[in-house]
């Protein structure tokens, strides 16, 4: 909603301007998004006089003018017809901003002649739409003075209206609210009611309404007009000042009233209407061609106005092209109506038509303002276009029900947190045109004005009082928290998320946050693509399905970074994945991707690529945090995501906690990857229960004796597992603290393929130093346990 200071002043005598007025308006809840001093435009421009005119050497239609600003002479190239020696005009030097053209003037060669600036037309200075010739100033303007000295100071403001304040979608509405705040009287004049001289041939019919509320009240009037031209300058300039283009006097008048008092009106060309005008619901599949020349298919949910033959208007939203006024119009029918805001909102939204009229109707216009709208328009049409007008045509009556709201003045303190006495509360409400019905006790009965349909409850009234008093008066009062602090603020899941993030960042992984919707092509396995998780109005197909896994985005991010020259990717994300549209179907996962080189390129060691055991160690690191890493089992995975021979599921107590492995070879194409990628994931919802705030640790006493380290070299079959061998060795004695694998290699022979595994076993001598006999006994047990698994000790 845009308005100028000068227009506002027509409704309210107000001295505050610029920053101060913006501050007051914003404090009222009418947030000023922008404001500008219009005179700033003219600050570099001077009153000048043309001293000499020469023909342009290279262009017939251009002239080279010499002009003076008193002590300086300038040269400009000008194409206007009205230049003559001795004429006073406005000179904009190079570097000045030309508001009507929205550019800053630069020194430029015009057909071989370069000027010092330009002479301006009214349109170029955004003073009017007159672009014919340069401004002609009379003798009252003194050469050499700043042009701005002669222009009345004015500001333009732009307000972001909240949806509840339809009453402020007009300049008078804003003035009214300001008057309430500043304790001032509105200066708006009442328009005189005019009766008319004949019966209108066009009548209203409202039989086709679905319910009375569709259009409870509608007024009309017929006009015969004498002049149908451009609007007078004052009207054109008013519209221009808030950025609207003048069209014709009839259209400009309705636009002016819409912005001035917030009353939408519509004018039909009466000669294009046959029979009576019927306000009714549209028939399904009825067609309507709007002023925008677009064809709209209507439904029974749309309210329209039709004559005997055709739909002539989409009520409250847009007129029809078949009945609009044009330069041949000689008779007019004017409409001033109240339409159901919900119907207007629904239709406007369904047909996607945004208009100034719809904007106001759907926010609720003043139901008592119909006569005023009719009278204001009658006065202007009669003054500007001449002719005669009919008696008014009326159907229905105002639907407005006077609502009395009771509120307790004591509750202001309870809700807002400081005291305002009852008298002041009443004064504020009266300033906002509320009428007080009863104020004998603390409970006050009041009635809001007809335009404040947004006021319905005690809290609404409290807000009115506190916003007029100013929110800055509300104190800061600390909460007295009487609850016991027994709640744990962070859930286990939250704590786990935070701790895992810190831990992964510590061991070199970078956290990503990606969109939760992905391409349906990246739902793997395919059978998990579900309609209930597909968006009906996605931004693109690439972002149209709620993800079932964190992997696709991690892999996409990997590929994108590789395409930018990154050679080592080590990412993780903690986020939601979905297997149904229910809350239970939303799961929190942690996923990792490792791809390309492990670590930096450095002179200290040879660079290698990430491999399976890198991702395995990350996963174990996370499980270690919950003390699970020694308790879990690995099982080969058959997921479509992984290379079947290089992947594992993590099992604990028969429950799958997650999985990891090398990306399945068939998926590299899908994700545009060239380097081998390793991915892993954990389902945090399944891990959270193992999160503990327990601080107590198991007791541990270090041994004073040397720990023994014994090396073994076993040969096992290629298909057996080193993990089983380690387990078997470990359980040989409770004194074995660590079993490390320090060499693994394949032994190829014709008979069979075997693997050689070298182990170091650390034996803790807890109470005494073992003698060789004891050590040999332990080693025999180890070898025997290994043998049971089919592992042979190498000679």
């Amino acid at each position: 909603m845009k308005f100028t200071q000068s227009w506002l002043k027509e409704h309210l005598a107000i001295e505050e301007k610029g920053k101060d007025l913006a501050h007051i308006l914003t404090g009222l809840g009418l947030e000023v998004e922008k404001y500008k001093n219009l005179n700033e435009y003219f600050q570099n421009m001077y009153v000048c006089e043309i001293t000499k005119i020469e023909k342009h050497p290279n262009a017939d239609r251009l002239k080279v003018c010499y002009l003076t600003t008193g002590n300086k002479t300038f040269k400009v190239v000008c194409g206007a017809d009205n230049v003559e020696t001795g004429l006073k005009s406005v000179f904009a030097p190079n570097g000045a901003f030309i508001p009507g053209k929205n550019f800053t003037l630069q020194r430029k060669d015009i057909r071989g002649v370069s000027g010092d600036g330009m002479l301006c037309s009214e349109q170029e200075l955004k003073m009017s739409d007159n672009s014919k010739g340069i401004i002609e100033l009379n003798k009252n303007y003194e050469v050499g003075h700043l042009f701005s000295e002669y222009i009345k100071e004015d500001y333009i403001y732009e307000i972001g209206l909240t949806p509840n304040r339809g009453d402020c979608a007009s300049i008078r509405g804003i003035a009214r609210d300001l008057a309430g705040k500043l304790n001032k009287k509105n200066t708006f004049n009442k328009v005189e009611h005019k009766k008319g001289t004949y019966q209108s041939s066009i009548k209203w019919e409202t039989l086709g309404l679905k319910k009375r509320e569709d259009c409870p009240h509608i007024l009309g009037r017929h006009f015969t007009i004498e002049h149908n031209n451009e609007s007078p300058n004052w009207l054109k300039n008013k519209l221009l000042s808030i950025g609207l283009n003048p069209i014709s006097s009839l259209v400009d008048i309705t636009n002016y009233i819409l912005f001035d008092i917030g009353r939408p009106l519509h004018v039909f060309d009466a000669q294009k209407i046959s029979g009576s005008l019927k306000v009714r619901r549209a028939k399904s599949d009825e067609n309507f061609v709007g002023l925008d020349n677009k064809n709209y298919k209507l439904s029974e949910e749309d309210l329209i106005i039709a004559d005997d033959e055709k739909v002539v208007s989409l009520a409250g939203i847009m007129g029809g092209i078949n009945s609009c006024v044009d330069h041949n119009t000689k008779e007019v029918f004017l409409e001033s109506a109240y339409f159901d805001p919900l119907l207007i909102a629904k239709t406007g939204r369904r047909l996607n038509i945004m208009s100034d009229s719809r904007y106001r109707f759907e926010r609720g216009i003043d139901p008592e303002g119909l006569y005023e709208g009719l009278d204001s328009a009658t006065k202007l049409i009669h003054n500007i276009c001449g002719g005669n007008f009919s008696f008014s045509e009326e159907k229905g009556q105002p639907i407005y029900i006077k609502k009395e709201i009771e509120f307790n003045s004591i509750n202001f303190d309870k809700i807002v947190g400081y005291k305002i006495n009852k008298e002041r509360q009443i004064e504020i409400l009266k300033n906002l045109c509320f009428s007080v019905v009863n104020q004998e006790s603390e409970k006050i009965k009041i009635m809001p004005p007809s335009w404040r349909h947004d006021i319905n409850t005690e809290n609404d009234i409290i807000e009115e009082i506190s916003r007029i008093e100013g929110y800055e008066k509300i104190p800061y009062t600390k909460i007295f928290d009487k609850r016991e602090r027994k709640d744990i603020s962070f859930s286990k899941l939250n704590s786990l998320r935070i701790d895992y993030r810190e831990r992964l960042a510590n061991i070199g992984l970078n956290e990503l946050i990606t969109f939760t919707f992905i391409s349906p092509n990246k739902i793997i396995p395919k059978m998990q693509l579900k309609e209930q998780l597909t968006l009906s109005n996605p931004i693109s197909k690439e972002q149209s399905v709620m993800r079932n896994s964190l992997y696709p985005n991690l892999l996409d991010a990997t590929a994108n970074n590789f395409s930018r020259g990154i050679e080592s990717v080590n990412f993780f994300e903690i986020g939601s994945v979905f297997d149904s549209n229910k809350f239970e179907g939303q799961k929190t996962f942690l996923a990792l991707v490792k791809c390309g080189f492990s670590g930096h390129k450095t002179w200290t060691k040879k660079r290698r690529n990430f491999d399976f055991f890198d991702i395995k160690s990350d996963i174990l690191e996370l499980l270690d945090y919950l003390n699970l890493n020694k308790k879990i089992k690995f099982k080969r995975s058959n997921s479509e995501w992984y290379h079947p021979g290089k992947s594992a599921e993590i099992i604990f107590n028969e429950i799958k906690l997650g999985s990891f492995g090398e990306l399945h070879p068939s998926l590299y194409k899908v994700f545009n990857l060239k380097n081998v990628a390793f991915i892993g994931q954990l389902e945090l919802n399944k891990l959270e229960k193992y999160y503990t705030n327990e601080n107590q640790k198991q007791p541990y006493l270090p041994s004073n004796f040397l720990s023994l380290k014994k090396d073994f070299s076993f040969v096992i079959n290629k298909n057996s597992s080193v993990g089983d061998l380690i387990e078997a060795v470990k359980k040989s004695s409770s004194l074995i603290e660590e079993v490390s694998v320090f060499d693994v290699y394949e032994i190829k022979s014709k008979m069979n393929d075997n693997i050689s595994v070298a182990l170091e076993v650390e034996i803790v001598q807890r109470e005494k130093v073992f003698n060789s006999e004891e050590i040999n006994k332990l080693m025999t047990i180890i070898i025997e346990n290994a043998r049971k698994l089919g592992a042979k000790l190498r000679d």
């Binding site: 914003t26 009222l28 809840g29 909240t162 949806p163 304040r165 919900l342 909102a345 759907e362 926010r363 303190d413 809700i415 807002v416 947190g417 409850t457 809290n459 807000e463 506190s466 916003r467 929110y471 800055e472 509300i474 800061y476 009062t477 909460i479 602090r485 744990i488 603020s489 962070f490 859930s491 935070i498 810190e502 960042a505 510590n506 061991i507 970078n510 956290e511 990503l512 946050i513 990606t514 969109f515 939760t516 309609e531 209930q532 998780l533 597909t534 968006l535 109005n537 994108n560 970074n561 080590n570 993780f572 979905f578 229910k582 809350f583 939303q586 492990s598 930096h600 450095t602 002179w603």
Partner: protein, 326 residues
């Protein structure tokens, strides 16, 4: 050489032996002199040896010299996403004020997201939420974290003091809008909760997060689910294209809040005569951008490695009020 002269079979030993053939007083005199000479020679000898060893060591150290300007062995350090860290900071401040963290689903019902929050179907406010709908039944991607309010109020009786950080969605995709973003919702319901309490909490939140020298203002606004409603702006100025927080030159909206509309309380079965409360909602991305000087919203979700390296946080532990949230 030492052995040749002063060893057991060395020159001096032989000379001493040869003294045995001389007469006694001559023997004593010569012997004494011979011993002195031997000691002197040995002394010179050891001193020379020490010199030589020192020279040798110096030579060795010189040879062992390395180029200390060579790059060190690099750590591979990861990072925490700036949005995660911002959520951590904000939730940390608020949990310290006694708020408990709650969560809700991304996929919501129209009732929780709109109707129960007093946003009926034709309300203009519903249009301002460009909503993603899912196929089939009328489920949607939540347009704000406010539905968590409804879920909690329908589940447990007051007093309620929760915050709900989470992912939110609107189908809007341009330079200043991302279709997915993050909010933090706050809700406090008890007997006698006022706007003044709300202002106090918001001030604590903003001062703790942005620092003590920021300025803020509360101005009336409108949300269907709060009445009275307010928006909170913080002051800033532009210094050579850089945004500097503080002052009252320009204002930037950071947060919406208000007294929970009694209609919403009643929708959730809470007696609005007995209880009142406040709610607030803030955009995490905006907080992160303002505090850390991130200018492009969309980069949060681009996941460019070098951008992440620049804007991510090292794992230095969870922010806490005691450490001043850094």
């Amino acid at each position: 050489m030492r052995i040749k002269y002063s060893g057991k079979k060395g020159l001096f030993t032989n000379l001493m032996k040869s003294l045995a053939s001389l007469e006694n007083d001559k023997k004593a005199l010569l012997g004494k002199e011979l011993n002195l000479t031997k000691k002197e020679i040995e002394k010179a000898f050891f001193s020379k040896k020490a010199d030589l060893e020192k020279m040798e060591l110096n030579k060795q150290l010189e040879n062992e010299k390395i180029d200390i300007s060579l790059p060190s062995r690099p750590f591979t350090r990861g990072g925490i996403h700036p949005l995660s860290r911002t959520i951590d900071e904000l939730t940390s401040i608020l949990t310290y004020q006694g708020f408990r963290i709650e969560e809700g689903p991304h996929i919501e019902s129209e009732d929780n997201n709109f109707t129960a929050l007093n946003i009926p179907e034709s309300h203009p406010a519903r249009q301002e939420h460009d909503t993603f709908y899912l196929k089939g039944n009328k489920k949607l991607l939540r347009t704000h974290t406010s539905p968590v309010q409804i879920r909690v109020m329908r589940k447990e009786p007051p007093p309620i003091k929760i915050i709900a950080p989470g992912t939110t969605y609107r189908c809007d995709d341009d330079a200043t809008h991302s279709p997915m973003f993050h909010q933090i919702e706050g809700l406090f319901i008890d007997t006698n909760v006022s706007m003044a309490n709300l202002k106090s909490i918001i001030r604590i939140l903003l001062l703790e997060f942005f620092g003590k020298d920021i300025s803020m203002r509360f101005r009336p606004s409108y949300f269907p689910f709060t009445e009275p409603s307010a928006e909170v702006d913080i002051g800033f100025s532009m210094e050579e294209e850089n945004l500097k927080l503080g002052g009252n030159q320009n204002w930037l909206e950071v947060l919406g809040c208000g007294i929970v509309n009694p209609v919403v309380l009643e929708n959730c079965g809470i007696n609005s005569q007995k209880y009142s409360g406040f709610a607030f909602g803030l955009g995490v991305e905006r907080f992160a951008m303002l505090k850390y000087g991130i200018s492009d919203l969309r980069m949060f979700f681009e996941n460019d490695f070098k951008w992440l390296k620049h804007y991510s946080f090292k794992a230095n532990g969870f922010p806490s009020p005691i450490r001043g949230y850094r």
